[in-house]
């Protein structure tokens, strides 16, 4: 144990002294743990971990900011926020809620700033390709937004949160515990708004005068209703209703003129799950209906653009124990999408049927687990790239487990790729990729201390990657480029209980990514790193807890990112440090917690996109009151 402690602290100190290294996540993520998701019968065979989204006002953007394997891209304080995993563009990370993609079928990405984490039971990050399990787009990895589940107590919760630059957030939640008929209910509603008018040095002007960000206000209102109102065939029927409305202003970059642009995003998402668990088989039926619309307005040019999409989805999955340690998993997915955009000139439809089958063998005592399977997608009346996989895991002691994942993955063109007038291309091929990923997980516990380490290596080769290139002075999607992404990821955590009831936890994570264009019409850029993809990101966290009080400091370093494909221009790397203090107290059947947070403690200037400054030092504070009864 001691040598692991030494190794860990050596790594930690190196990380601190190397200016390219960063640090922390304050208890932010519990170290990766192998997870088999009960809510999905054919859930994954890979490693994942759950993000600690905290009990404060949050979006998925904030939750992933201090995650070393997640490369954030944010166009402005209120603009589109996306995440890319393992060096690939954002459309190669699949975001699922209740197992269904919440990405726009039009541009293929999910906007992290429109995903309030208070609406989900947990957020799980899977940095591994998994098209066989999760379908088109799961080439870099998967983010899973887990819906609420039943609780054992009735509760009511009220939270208020305020902060710099006009941040006000209110959340009301309530729940009824499961009764003897298996019925339960949870509801969570949030209202959050901010002005976003932070001050920043305008680096495009001499002497960098201090300016206030303009046209950056945003407001989100959302409600999530989950419950099980009835049973069918003695198995519960679970329903989830998610309504959301957001309004936001879109600021200009420092090199643009003033902006009056704004955007509304509305969503209605309904999902229904029914699961029957038998002794030798499980069956699950899941139905969903998603409606999303977007209105973009730019009064300066009297432009108003509208788009919407409607998706119907049905998934039937089963898992059978066919012989001793052999399990057969099957699934069938139906999906129909209708989308309209002013630039499509008419409604566009997409029909998908996906078949999935896998067989899993798990040894009794030797710790081996082998799983192989494939997904076969049928889209718009033709079969496209299929997705086979082989996953091998071996737990050779209580402390060590190693996994190897070899898979073929794919991503279908988005509706914009296909139908955007005038240059969308209905004949685009689906992207295909091959991935090999090797992961090790080790966990040691001795006395009052524990140490976990989680290294992984991967190679992903993507063919027919869809990229919009300027041809004849207009932008066209083409299949041309190939991309090779290789990298190494390492996460470690050390937890120590000290005297006087103090617990200390240190976590650190590093990701090194080399994502290169292999082919391109411009031969001069072949071999170059993909734009906006840092070679490295590092996170560190220090958390200490005593009784009801917790102090954490989290730090991240995102390395420099090229902004031009010939690597002639780049954005510098930057450090961010956040500090978070929280406490809680209880009285009668109520509990109260409070927190205070300082974001960007050192007031560092940073940008995710060129000339789009992000906020400097800011403060947040909030309280939460919770009533519970059995």
């Amino acid at each position: 144990m001691r040598r692991f402690m030494k190794a860990f602290f050596l790594f930690f100190l190196i990380a601190i002294f190397c200016p390219a290294f960063g640090q922390h996540t304050d208890s932010v993520f519990s170290l990766p743990e192998a997870t088999i998701f009960a809510d999905r019968l054919y859930a994954n065979s890979g490693f994942s971990h759950t993000l600690d989204t905290g009990n404060q006002s949050n979006t998925l953007y904030k939750a992933l900011l201090f995650e070393s394997t997640a490369n954030i891209r944010r166009q402005s304080i209120s603009g589109l926020s996306t995440v890319s995993l393992r060096g690939l563009p954002a459309a190669h990370t699949k975001t699922l809620w209740n197992g269904f993609a919440v990405q726009s079928p039009m541009n293929g990405v999910a906007d992290l700033s429109l995903l309030p984490t208070q609406l989900f039971a947990s957020v799980q990050l899977l940095s591994e390709a998994h098209s066989a399990y999760f379908g088109s787009g799961a080439i870099g990895g998967v983010i899973r937004l887990k819906p609420f589940s039943k609780s054992t107590e009735n509760f009511a919760q009220l939270a208020y949160h305020t902060g710099s630059w006009g941040l006000h957030s209110m959340q009301v939640s309530a729940g009824l515990a499961e009764n003897k008929n298996g019925q339960w209910l949870k509801v969570s509603a949030i209202h959050e708004q901010r002005k976003g008018n932070f001050s920043f040095p305008d680096r495009t002007q001499n002497q960098s005068p201090i300016r206030s960000m303009e046209n950056a206000a945003a407001k989100i209102q959302a409600i999530m209703l989950s419950g099980s109102p009835l049973s069918l065939l003695n198995s519960p029927l679970e329903m989830h209703i998610w309504l959301q409305q957001s309004k936001r202003e879109l600021p200009a970059s420092l090199t643009e003129g003033s902006s009056l642009a704004n955007q509304d995003d509305n969503a209605v998402r309904l999902a229904m799950n029914w699961r029957q668990i038998k002794q030798k088989s499980n069956h699950e039926v899941r139905l969903a209906w998603f409606y999303d619309d977007l209105v973009y307005r730019n009064p300066k040019i009297q432009l108003e653009a509208f788009s919407n999409s409607i998706k119907y989805m049905a998934e039937f999955s089963s898992m059978f124990i066919i012989y001793q340690n052999w399990v057969l998993k099957t699934a069938l997915l139906f999906e129909h999408t209708t989308a309209f955009a002013d630039d499509y000139r008419s409604k566009r439809n997409r029909r998908k049927i996906n078949g999935f089958a896998a067989i899993q063998w798990q040894a009794d005592k030797t710790g081996w687990q082998v799983e192989a399977g494939a997904r076969l997608p049928w889209i718009d009346e033709k079969f496209t790239a299929w997705s086979p996989f082989l996953a091998i895991r071996h737990r050779y002691s209580q402390a060590h487990e190693t996994g190897l994942n070899i898979s073929g993955n794919y991503r279908h063109p988005t509706l914009n790729d296909l139908y955007w007038v005038p240059n969308g291309d209905p004949d685009l091929k689906s992207e295909t990729s091959r991935q090999i990923s090797l992961t090790h997980q080790a966990a040691f516990t001795e006395g009052l201390s524990s140490f976990k380490v989680f290294p992984s290596l991967y190679v992903i080769h993507v063919k027919n990657m869809i990229q919009w290139l300027n041809i004849n002075s207009t932008w066209h999607p083409v299949n041309h480029p190939e991309v090779l992404s290789r990298g190494a990821e390492l996460k470690m955590s050390y937890t120590q209980s000290i005297s006087h009831g103090i617990t200390m936890k240190i976590t650190t994570g590093s990701a090194y990514t080399r994502a290169q264009l292999q082919t391109h019409p411009n031969e001069n850029i072949v071999g170059n790193q993909l734009t906006f993809t840092p070679y490295q990101k590092h996170t560190n966290a220090l958390m200490t807890e005593k009784g009801n009080y917790k102090l954490s400091i989290e730090h991240q370093y995102t390395g420099s990112r090229y902004t031009t494909s010939d690597q002639s221009a780049s954005m510098p790397g930057f450090h961010l440090i956040n500090m978070h203090l929280s406490g809680k107290l209880s009285f009668w059947k109520a509990g109260m917690s409070w927190h205070f947070k300082c974001n960007n403690l050192l007031n560092k200037y940073y940008e995710w996109f060129p000339y789009q400054p992000m906020p400097g030092r800011g403060f947040e504070a909030g309280i939460r009151v919770n009533f519970q009864s059995t």
Binding site: I16, V421, L542, Q567
Partner: protein
Amino acid sequence: MNTLYKFTILMILTVSITACNKTDDEQPIQEGPGEGILIFNEGPFMSGTGSVTFHGETSVDNLFETVNGRPLGNIVQSYSQNDTYGFVVVNNADKVEVVNPVTFQSIATISDLSSPRYVEKIADKLWAISEWTTETNGRVTVVEAPDFNVIKTIAVGSGPEHLRVFENHLLVLNSGGYGSSNTVSIISLNTMEVTNTVEVCDNPNSIALHGTHVYIMCGGQKIYNADFTLNEAESTNGSIAELDLTGSQIVWTSDQIQFRPNNLTLTGQQLLFLNGNSIYKFDPVTMTSALLRDGYYYSLSAGSNNILYASDPADFASKGTVYALDASNGNVISEYEAGIIPTQVVEKEK
């Protein structure tokens, strides 16, 4: 463990303090860079800033920023100059930077414009700026040196682009901007009012004065069917119209409907343009065109001594190249490294 704890916090604070920004020790240029060529680069699509590249005895990658200590802005659209002033039009920044054309030091910034496109001198101390304002309307704003205050705005058609003075009138090409148009607005320089709006061909985009003749190049219009195919019956080919102050006449039509010819340029006595990104010659006597040089070019600029500058934007996300060509045969005389999306070349005399 307490010691370890304190030590760790100390380390975190250490990294915070040591993570300082690099200082910029580049010195501004005090004098002009001399004779050479100026390349105006639009800059990266959607983000970043345009730039000016200079090649002469020395080369400067980003002349404006080097001289003035600040970036130009997003997106550099065009440049016009006389002996006293240079006007860099920065389209997406809604401004025109006025510079000393010799030193490139900033003189003034004309701001609060609406998608400015081109600048033209129309009288002593008076300059006209074309602006896209809305989808259906455009305007020409007249500013007066040396303060560059706006003294007049004149409503014109949609998407006004190039401006050219001809017979005491200002010709304004209404390109359609975000939509479509087929007109040229004619503004009297005596009254500063639109005296006529002449129909030309669909989506006029460039203009050349050849002797007493005015030629307007039109990109044509593409109409798409619901199934995404090109509606050839309703689409129009690119064309060249000859214009006078009362009307126009189409004198040449492209036989390739998929292209949008543009960048009509007078170099020496030769009319040249881009069609399908290759360079073509237009013969105003026979009213025919002929391929001068095949390739992929984004813009053309006229130089002295029968030199034509043609820009290659590479992949539009990395540094481009400008070729100096012999306008009579298309042969490459020399080539220059440019910035991101080179759009115009101007020869600098001193």
